[in-house]
């Protein structure tokens, strides 16, 4: 989900969690701890990079940007999901 959201441009933490909440019809709210844990793992795997933005609205924001490795990972994950979905649809 995070990689997909970052394909449309760099985003900061709250922006990502807000978009996940809104795009899921307000059904899915990702906890901050889970999100930062995911962001750190993606960064460690080279899928995203981070940088600090300027001090705006009373504080600095840390932005995340998808890398080519992240793009490939997203494509792979999406294909895996489509495959799993197909199998489940046949089984159910």
């Amino acid at each position: 989900m995070i990689l997909k959201l970052l394909q449309s441009g760099d985003k900061y933490g709250y922006e990502i969690s807000k978009l996940i909440y809104m795009n899921s019809n307000e059904q899915y709210e990702i906890k901050e701890a889970t999100m930062y844990s995911s962001l750190k793992r993606l960064e460690k795997d080279g899928c995203i990079i981070s940088y600090w933005g300027d001090a705006t609205q009373g504080g600095r924001r840390k932005y995340y940007k998808i890398t080519p490795i992240g793009e490939d990972t997203y494509t792979q994950n999406k294909n895996d999901w489509e495959q799993a979905k197909l199998i489940l649809e046949r089984l159910l």
Binding site: G13, Y14, E32, A33, G58, R60, R61
Partner: protein, 239 residues
């Protein structure tokens, strides 16, 4: 409420404050939570409700800490500092090594020290109300004039641990093992030491009324001291 949010987030990161990654994550998380809080307020939530929704959205603090990926020695270095006179309510000090840590005149209410190594640390005039010390290493640790009301001690190491001028009334030390521990000028009224093992433990000038040693084992020196203080030792085994 904004200040309260600052304090809450800071208390999460306090044990790791000298680690750069922790500082950065604290800044990042706080910035995002402030924005979230303001969104809730704009959507009509009361200050109290917006604060609760924001804090609840953090989720599992342990998951947050894992994301820091701190090396043990870095964490140990980060923790080895003086926390005196800090307000660190609800802090998470689990599984950290705090050799010679100074927690003097500190408010540590409800903090969790489970599995921590607190060797030679000092808690002088600190508020430890409802703190948890499970599986903690309290070797050489000094508790002096500290508020220990509602504290949970379980499976901890009490080797030369010193409780001085503390109120330990009603606390439960069942099944614990004490070695050269000193209880000095402390109230141990109705404290429970059922099935505990006590080796060379001193109870200098302490209030021992209605203390319970049922099923406890102790060496002769400790036994003689307690016997002299007219403590009921009917269910005690001398080892």
């Amino acid at each position: 409420m904004i200040e309260k949010l600052h304090t809450h987030v800071h208390s999460i990161f306090a044990p790791y404050i000298s680690a750069k990654t922790a500082k950065e994550l604290e800044e990042e998380l706080l910035q995002n939570l402030l924005e979230k809080y303001n969104d809730h307020r704009r959507n009509g939530a009361s200050e109290q409700s917006a604060y609760k929704l924001t804090v609840d959205s953090i989720g599992e603090v342990s998951e947050l800490m894992e994301s820091l990926n701190l090396q043990y020695n870095v964490l140990e270095q980060a923790i080895n500092m003086d926390y005196s006179r800090h307000r660190l309510l609800d802090s998470d000090f689990r599984s950290v090594s705090v050799h010679d840590g100074k927690f003097n005149s500190c408010d540590l209410s409800r903090s969790d020290f489970s599995h921590s190594d607190l060797t030679n640390s000092t808690f002088k005039s600190s508020n430890l109300d409802n703190c948890i010390f499970e599986n903690a290493n309290l070797t050489g640790t000094l508790f002096k004039s500290a508020n220990l009301k509602g504290v949970t001690f379980k499976n901890s190491i009490y080797n030369k641990t010193h409780f001085k001028s503390c109120n330990l009334s009603g606390l439960i030390f069942d099944g614990e093992t004490f070695n050269q521990t000193i209880f000095e000028g402390s109230s141990l009224k109705k404290a429970s030491f059922r099935d505990a093992t006590l080796i060379n433990v001193q109870f200098r000038m302490s209030d021992l009324k209605k203390i319970d040693f049922t099923g406890a084992s102790m060496d002769k020196l400790t036994y003689n001291f307690l016997h002299g203080a007219k403590v009921d030792l009917s269910g005690v085994t001398i080892i």
